[in-house]
Symmetry: C2
Subunit: 346 residues, 2 copies
């Protein structure tokens, strides 16, 4: 056995972070650290003069709070985890803008994750984000992996699923994509189109487009028409739209209208028709989805469905904040609706 030693343990030095700590601020202000902490985080709980002294000390020392320490001690952070499948799609950006605006105004910081339409990546991201003790989670869509559901089942913070409506984990703000598909199909039938091609891109990932197709198909089949589907590989882009139009023209078979899964595709087709000297809607009617400004600036204007994306983000954020501030739940689900914009393209 080794001999026992009762000497004092050698002084160990940690990497000094250089940065002043709350304790130094407190010393400079002549108060205890907890009072300094309160002066910064709960000003109303501290005498105005004391608070002023603390703030002066903060200023003078250039103190920057260590948020990881605060988060550890209080078991919460002002992070909101936001998970979207893509940044390349304007639609998500606009929702994010709505979220960010509203959350930042309340002092929350968004932690943005991009799954790239990969459901396992979503699990990884959520796992990491939970590790930061986020105040809430906002995720685009209702589809999650089993692992993800298990992880979230034991989580007691608000979960907000945006974009579509359905059986949600907790809160839900979105619109009915199937109904949107039906709506456009009805419009096309009204315009006399009996054979309408639906053109989508990577619809296994973009399953909301698949939902719209389902609605579209339902209406057409009820009217005794069939509902051919063309699925392109690249995600919605102008080029892909042109390709979709070419395909439709090549195989024609009586197709008089194309219902595109989104405005990028539709506008791509419209501009391509223009270059090719085709008349829209006489040679081919074209419809989109999203209601992007671009579609309203081309000639003919694009018939499309506008969804209130930024508003969806705002509303989602507001609901989450309401939930964070009072446990009272007002409504779990909000349908933000959509609007059929009829242009001259159909």
């Amino acid at each position: 056995m080794r001999p026992l030693s009762n000497e004092a343990p050698p002084a160990r030095r940690r990497r000094g972070s250089e940065q002043p700590t709350l304790k130094e601020v407190a010393d400079a202000a002549g108060v205890s650290p907890i009072t300094a902490s309160r002066a910064l985080n709960a000003p109303e709980r501290v005498n105005a003069q004391t608070r002023a002294r603390v703030l002066t000390a903060v200023e003078r020392l250039g103190y920057v709070p260590n948020l990881a320490a605060g988060s550890l001690a209080s078991a919460r952070s002002r992070f909101i985890a936001v998970i979207v499948p893509s940044l390349a799609n304007t639609v998500f950006i606009e929702v994010i803008q709505g979220l960010q605006e509203t959350f930042e105004a309340q002092g929350y910081q968004i932690l943005l994750g991009n799954t790239d339409y990969d459901i396992d990546r979503e699990y990884q991201l959520i796992r990491t984000f939970l590790g930061w003790s986020c105040s809430a989670l906002v995720t685009a869509g209702l589809r999650h992996s089993e692992a993800c559901r298990t992880l979230l089942a034991n989580w007691d913070k608000p979960i907000m699923e945006v974009m579509e409506l359905g059986e949600a984990l907790d809160l839900n703000v979105g619109l009915d994509h199937t109904e949107a598909g039906r709506c456009m199909a009805r419009h096309l039938l009204e315009r006399g189109h009996r054979r309408v091609l639906f053109v989508g891109a990577r619809m296994s990932g973009d399953y909301r487009a698949a939902m719209r197709y389902a609605g579209h198909r339902e209406v057409l089949e009820q009217a005794g028409c069939d509902a051919p589907l063309l699925e392109l590989d690249p995600l919605g882009s102008l080029d892909a739209g042109a390709e979709g139009l070419e395909c439709a023209l090549a195989h024609r078979e009586g197709i008089s209208a194309i219902h595109f899964a989104n405005d990028d595709l539709a506008t791509g087709a419209l501009l391509h028709a223009q270059r090719r000297g085709l008349s829209v809607p006489d040679d081919m009617a074209i419809a989109g989805f999203n209601g992007l400004p671009l579609g309203q600036h081309v000639t003919p204007r694009l018939t499309t469905i506008r969804s209130p994306r930024q508003h969806m983000g705002q509303l989602a954020a507001e609901e989450v904040i309401r939930r964070l501030e009072s446990k009272r739940v007002l409504r779990r689900q909000h349908d933000v609706g959509f609007e059929l914009l009829i242009g001259e393209s159909t």
Copy 2:
């Protein structure tokens, strides 16, 4: 005086976080917490079998590491602060995409901040982000408030400024906007335009557009032409472009070409010209900046300048990562260049 009391202090209970901790994982695996920590964060420093036992325990208990605790103990996080002036502008989104892709692949998480073109907001964001012990800061542009510079002066982590080139704080990846402005102006002169209107939007905020105007003006003045400027209020949008075109037509004064500050404005003008039955470039030549896909799909195709935005993000991220991994600095500054795309609009 109060009587002394030697009783044991009453047991205090903290809010139990329910979540298993590293200690519980370690107990389950029959190792010490530090070994469990190493098994997760530095696998090569732990025996393969031990590591496997730890990972099994992690799995079984559904352990999620508390990242705030780790960050506090190690004085670092895998956060990268990214600050942009706007999310409404595709340009920044594409840079962010490049950054995110590259950083996420290396296990870094982006903390995204939006200044809304407000230089004080930038200071606030940076302050918050420093509080999270970020590994690096990426910010769009070289302009910062004094407070911001002071704050960053004492910060020893990599700082990357993207978008434009110039006197940078640390690392810098971007392009020369003044030269881009010159380049387009030269092209317009070559095409025989002697009176060219520059149309921008909110150029006090979008100072890179102002730099392009400066270059544009320099070239025109050297050629003995003047360089009128029209500044619109709303940020680059299709509508504003239409408005710019109308303005130019109303006040004409021999203007034969418009150099727009960006492609959104330019395309808006182009589409508006189409609606109005004007011929581009015969009635009015139109040029843009950015090289967005849209401009290449309209007829006539838009003359513009393409900047490698996503590549800029990737390159910036790579440089930062290189810097984080080895202190060795290779190059502080990278010019990613630009490319003049000549369409039929000029």
